[in-house]
Symmetry: C2
Subunit: 151 residues, 2 copies
């Protein structure tokens, strides 16, 4: 990847993308949230090359998104399990899924979204709210220029 590292950026978007900017990462998180645990499951479900998956999983473990766990009933296979930090990426997946569902599917097409586990219905669209709870449109959100920081 040809890019300067964003690791030290004060911009929280940039720093997040430095860790999860590889689109595979979010697809792996998605698979993990839907139950995949073993290397072979991720590989099969995502159709990934073994070497790319291997590199990516290692980097996710290094970055605290996943951890490797040896299940008690198995001496053979490690399982890859999301950490709390990894699970905390769920709103990113929800935001992506809702944007895609709104803009990248024909009205007749059905899209796979994230669901309420109990009722199995799509989640309510994410809402942008001010610190004191006021609903904000996208035009009411201010994005500071990259070098500056929020007070």
């Amino acid at each position: 990847m040809r890019r300067k590292s964003l690791e030290e950026s004060v911009c929280a978007v940039a720093r997040s993308l430095d860790i999860i900017g590889d689109w595979w990462t979010l697809l792996i998180v998605r698979e993990a949230l839907s139950g995949a645990k073993r290397f072979g499951e991720f590989q099969k479900n995502l159709g990934m090359a073994k070497n790319i998956l291997s590199t990516r999983l290692r980097s996710m473990v290094e970055n605290g998104i996943m951890e490797m766990v040896m299940p008690e009933d198995s001496q053979a296979y490690y399982e890859y399990v999301l950490t709390e930090q990894g699970k905390a990426l769920t709103p990113v997946l929800v935001a992506l899924a809702q944007w895609g569902g709104d803009h990248l599917f024909d009205p007749k097409e059905r899209s796979s979204l994230l669901l309420d586990a109990k009722k199995r219905r799509p989640l309510r669209p994410l809402e942008l709210r001010s610190h004191d709870g006021k609903l904000l449109s996208v035009d009411e959100v201010f994005v500071p220029p990259t070098p500056s920081v929020a007070a």
Copy 2:
């Protein structure tokens, strides 16, 4: 990029990542939301190589995320302006910024987040809610396996 196209996936996350999976795209959207319009502004603010920026902007125009506008007071420079579809990526940026702010910054570090335009305070954390408005934890979100679709 070595990957199979996700363009036709029924998974809305995958299809979104097919369009915006390149981490530059989201940083360009962020710059546009903070006021950048001209090629040179994007290039300078993001430190991008001209050829990469050029390719990326063209693809964003093709995908309906940006449009090229010739300002009335200028005969020389096109401006790149976010479409409604492009602005609708704001929740993705907010989700990324909040995740990064929570997990990738030391407590003493200040992170640049997205703000309420009027009060200039960071937005409230995004909440996951069921269709009928119930607040959900990440463990209460169900992610269907990739091939299946939401009813």
